[in-house]
Amino acid sequence: MKIIIVGCGRVGQTLAEKLNDDGNEVTVIDMLAEKVKEVTDVCDVMGVIGNGATHTTLLEAGVDTADLFIAVTNSDELNLLCCILAKKEGRCQTIARIKNPEYSKETAYLKDEFGLAMVINPEYAAAEEIARVLRFPSAIKIEPFVKGKVELIKFKLPKECGLVGVSIKDMAMKLYGGVLVCTIERGGEAYIPNGDFVFEEKDVVSIIATAKNANEFFKKIDYKGNSIKDAMIAGGGTITHYLCEILENTGISLKVVEKDLKACEDFAARWEKVCVIHGSTRDKELLLEEGLAKAGAFVALSNSDEENILLSLFAKEMGGGKLVTKIKRTDYGNVISRLELDTMICPKNITSDIILRYVRATQNTMGSNIETLYNIIEDQVEATEFLIKENSPIIGVPLWQLPFKSNVLIASISRGNQVIVPRGSDVIQAGDAVVVVSKQMALRDVTDVLK
C-alpha cells in the first residue's frame, strides 16, 4: 500500500516505522527538515519537507496515487484540512488525529461530513485502555477480540498463586478448560508455550478467554484481584478528562491531583463527582495525606515520563494498589519494564496499533481477511484476528492435520455466538473468526501460518 503520513511527531514516527516494516511504501511530510530527517534516517521511507495542507506538497508526496492518508500533526484543524485536500486530489482513504475534546465529541459528524475513514484520538484511546485496566485490575492489559466476545488478558503470576509450578497440560485438565494460554514472557524473552511448559513466579502470562471464563479462571487459581473502588490520578490533562468521562458511572471514585489552579477549577466545574486537589504531584506529604497508601489504584498521568515513573515507584512502595503509568517514550522500554510497574500506557503506541490494525484490515487478501490485530508483546508477538472466507484452504481440516509453522497458535475460533477454545480435533469453517497468536510478524493471510 502507498501511505502518506503528515506530521513526524512521536505518533508519526512510530507509524512510519511500523507501516514500513509491514511492507508498505511510506512517504512522510513535515514542515521541519530535521523532523523529516529523523524519520528518513532510521527507516526506509521518503521524506517531503513542506506544509501538508498545500496542494503542491501533497502532489510532491504523490497523493494522486496514494491509498491511505494519515494526518497526525499537532493541530487538529490542520489534520482535517490535510485530509480534505488529500481526499479531493486522490482516491485515498483518510485518517485524522483529532485530540481537542471539543471536536472529539463530534467525531461521527466529522467522519461523515469529510468522508474520513477514521478519526483517532490518542488521548481518548489511552483513557479507554486505562479504564479497561481499572475495571479488571488483575490484568496488565486487556484487549477485546471478535467484537468483545473474547478477551486477551495479560497478567503477572504472583508468588502465592495456584498456577506456579503447574504445567500447561495439567492446568488444562485439572483447573479449567475454557482458557487458552497464548504467550509467556520470562526474563525479556517471549514464548509461545506447548503443553509441557511449567509456570514460574513472575511470568507474564497472556490468556484468551471469554470474560466469564476468565473470571472463573482467576477465582480457581486464587489470583487476588479485588475490584477497584477508588483511584488517585496524578495530573489533570486531557487523558484525565476522558478517563473521568468514561468512568463517570462505574462506581469508581476518582481523586485528581493537579498543580495548576485554573485547570483544577475547570475540572471541578465539569466533573462534580470527582475530588479535585490543588497541589503539586511532587509533594509527597500531600499525596500521603490524600490517601495514596490506601487507594485502590494510582494512575500517573503527568506530562513527564520521569515524574510518572518516580511517582509510580513511590506509590508501589507505600501501598499495594494497582499502578498505571503513562509514558511518552518507549526507547528505554526494557529498562522500565524491569521496574515492575504493572501497567504502562503509551498513547503513541496505542494510536499506531489502532491505525496499523486498520491498515492490515483493509489489505484484503485471498481466502481471509484481517479483522483486528494486537501487539501482545511489543515487537515480538502479535495476535491477529482473521475472518475465514469460503475459498480458504484451511477449511474442513482438523487442526492437528494442518502443517503449522512453529511459534504459531490458533487461540480461539468464534462461530456465531459460540466461542471455541480450539483442540486438535476442531475444524475451522467458513465464516469463522479465528484468532492467531504468532511470533512471526506481519501476517497477511491466515495461510501464512502454514508451512
Partner: protein, 483 residues
C-alpha cells in the same frame, strides 16, 4: 566500526563482480579467444573470495554513515584490484599497475588509458575490449546501487550507501523505498543504453562495436576500440553519440519526473544551466574555429566537431573525433574549463557537477550581499527552494577538499614529468573522470609514460573524483578507524 557488515558487503561486491565477468567470458566464447581461461580464473577467484567473505551473518546489520563511506571506498578499490586480473593474466597489459590503472579508469568512467592509440588498441582481444567498456557501464551508475536494487541488504540505513556512492551535493529518493529507487534508476539507465545501441546499429557499426560504444557512452567513460576513437565513423554515428553523451550527463531523476509527466520539475535549474553552458560553449568554439585562419573546417564540420568535443568533455566521456589539442588556445581553454564543471548531479558523468557550481555561485553572491547589508537575512535558493545551510557549507568544504587533492596531485606529478600543461590537464582529466587532456595526454596520447608513483596518484585521483573526494579521504583518516 562494524567490520562484520563491511566484510559481508565486500563479499557480495566480489560475487557480483564474478557475475559481471560473464560478459567478457561470453564474448571470448563467441570470438573463440584464448583469454577465455584468464577471465575464467579471475571469475573463480572473485567467487571464492566473495564466498568466504559472506559466510556468517554479522549480528549488527546497521550501516551508519561511517560504515557507508568505508564500504563504498573499499568496494571500489577491491573491485578494481580484481577487475584488473584478466588484463594481467592474459599478458595483454604486462604490468599489474598498468592493468589496475586501466581498470580503475574503467570503473570510474574516466577513460584514460595506458594503451597507445592506434595499432596496439586495435590488436587487443575483443573480450578484454568489452570488459573495458563494461566496467564503464557498471561504474557509471554505481555498483552498490546495483547491488541494492537486486539484493535485499537488510536495514533501513542503506541510504547511507547510496548517499556515499551517488554523485551530487544532496541525494533524494524517487520513491519511498531505497530498493525501488535503485531499480528505477537502473531501469532508466539500461533502457537508454538499449536505445542508443539500437540507434547505433542503424548506422554502420557492427554489433560488437555498437555494444562497446553504448556501454562506454552510458557510463560516460570513453574507452574506444579503434585507433582513432570515433573519428572514422559517419556523421550519423557521431551525432547519435553526441546526443547520448549529453543525455547521460543529465540528472536521472529528471527522466523519472519526465516519465511521470512532471515537465516543470524535470527541467529544473541544474538541467537548464547545463544546456545553457553546452550551447554557449559550442557557439564560442565554432566561432573561434571559423574565425581563425589556420583551420579549414566547413561550418558544418566546425559545428559537428565542436559539439562532439563539448559533449565529450562536459559529460566527462572522452571519445574523440578531432584532435582538439591542435585547436586555438581559446577553444582549448573552454574545454579545460568544462572538464571542471562536469555533468549534472545524479548522472553518470564526473566533474564538480553543475548543481555544485550553481550552489557555489549563489553561495558566493549571497555572501557578497551580506557584506553590503550585514544584517540582511537571505537564503540560497534554487528552484524557489531554500538550500539547506548545511548543504551549502558542505559544498564549499567539498570545493576546498577537491582543490587540495588537485593541487597535491599536481605537485606530485610535477616531480615525475617536466611538461606543466601535460601534468595539469592529466590531473584535471583524471580527477574529473574525463580521460583525455592536452599535450602528451591529449587525444592522441596516453598515460603509459608516467612512472609507477604517478600512476598510483592518478588511480587515487580517479577514485576520489568518482566518489566525490570525501569517501577516499575518510578512508585514510585515522579518526574513521578509531574504536
Amino acid at each position: 566500526m562494524n567490520f562484520g557488515i563491511i566484510k559481508r558487503t565486500l563479499g557480495w561486491i566480489l560475487l557480483f563482480e564474478g557475475l559481471f565477468f560473464t560478459v567478457p567470458l561470453i564474448t571470448a566464447a563467441v570470438y573463440w579467444e584464448e583469454e577465455f581461461f584468464d577471465i575464467f580464473v579471475a571469475m573463480a577467484l572473485c567467487a571464492a573470495c566473495g564466498g568466504v567473505c559472506i559466510v556468517g551473518k554479522p549480528k549488527n546489520q546497521n550501516i551508519y554513515a561511517k560504515e557507508g563511506f568505508v564500504i563504498v571506498a573499499l568496494s571500489w578499490i577491491v573491485m578494481s584490484i580484481f577487475g584488473a586480473l584478466p588484463f594481467w593474466f592474459s599478458r595483454s597489459i604486462p604490468s599489474y599497475i598498468d592493468a589496475l590503472f586501466e581498470t580503475v579508469s574503467g570503473f570510474t568512467t574516466t577513460g584514460a588509458s595506458i594503451i597507445p592509440t592506434g595499432e596496439a588498441l586495435e590488436s587487443m582481444p575483443k573480450c578484454l575490449l568489452i570488459w573495458r567498456s563494461f566496467t564503464h557501464w557498471v561504474g557509471g551508475m554505481g555498483v552498490l546501487v546495483f547491488i541494492m536494487a537486486f539484493l535485499p541488504l537488510s536495514g533501513a540505513r542503506n541510504m547511507n550507501l547510496m548517499k556515499a556512492e551517488s554523485p551530487g551535493p544532496s541525494v533524494g529518493k524517487l520513491v519511498p523505498r531505497v530498493r525501488q529507487t535503485a531499480k528505477i534508476l537502473y531501469l532508466i539507465y539500461a533502457g537508454m543504453t538499449v536505445i542508443q545501441f539500437a540507434l547505433l546499429l542503424f548506422g554502420e557499426m557492427t554489433v560488437f562495436e555498437a555494444i562497446n560504444t553504448a556501454f562506454a557512452t552510458a557510463g560516460t567513460g570513453g574507452f574506444g576500440f579503434k585507433g582513432d576513437s570515433m573519428a572514422s565513423f559517419s556523421s550519423y554515428t557521431q551525432i547519435v553519440i553526441t546526443v547520448f553523451m549529453l543525455l547521460f550527463s543529465v540528472n536521472f531523476n529528471s527522466y523519472f519526473l519526465l516519465l511521470r509527466g512532471r515537465m516543470k520539475e524535470a527541467f529544473n535549474t541544474e538541467v537548464r544551466v547545463f544546456f545553457a553552458i553546452v550551447i554557449t560553449a559550442i557557439t564560442l568554439i565554432t566561432l573561434n574555429l571559423q574565425l581563425s585562419e589556420a583551420y579549414t573546417y566547413t561550418t558544418g564540420e566546425a559545428i559537428k566537431h565542436s559539439a562532439f568535443s563539448v559533449a565529450t568533455i562536459i559529460s566527462t566521456t572522452g571519445f574523440v573525433t578531432a584532435n582538439f589539442d591542435l585547436w586555438p588556445a581559446f577553444s582549448k581553454g573552454i574545454l579545460v574549463l568544462l572538464m571542471f564543471i562536469g555533468a549534472c548531479a545524479g548522472s553518470t558523468g564526473g566533474g564538480v557537477k553543475v548543481s555544485r557550481v550553481v550552489i557555489l555561485y549563489k553561495g558566493a553572491t549571497h555572501e557578497m550581499k551580506k557584506m553590503l547589508h550585514s544584517r540582511q537575512v537571505t537564503n540560497v535558493t534554487i528552484d524557489k527552494r531554500v538550500v539547506d545551510r548545511e548543504v551549502v557549507q558542505n559544498t564549499f568544504a567539498y570545493l576546498f577538499a577537491y582543490i587540495l587533492v588537485f593541487v597535491l596531485s599536481f605537485l606530485l606529478i610535477c616531480i615525475d614529468v617536466q611538461d606543466v600543461v601535460t601534468n595539469f590537464t592529466a590531473v584535471t582529466a583524471t580527477i574529473n573522470n574525463v580521460g583525455p587532456g592536452l599535450g602528451a595526454v591529449g587525444p592522441d596520447g596516453n598515460f603509459a609514460f608516467f612512472s609507477v608513483g604517478s600512476k598510483l596518484v592518478f588511480i587515487f585521483d580517479m577514485l576520489a573524483g568518482r566518489l566525490e573526494i570525501f569517501p577516499m579521504l575518510l578512508l585514510f583518516s585515522a579518526r574513521t578507524w578509531k574504536k
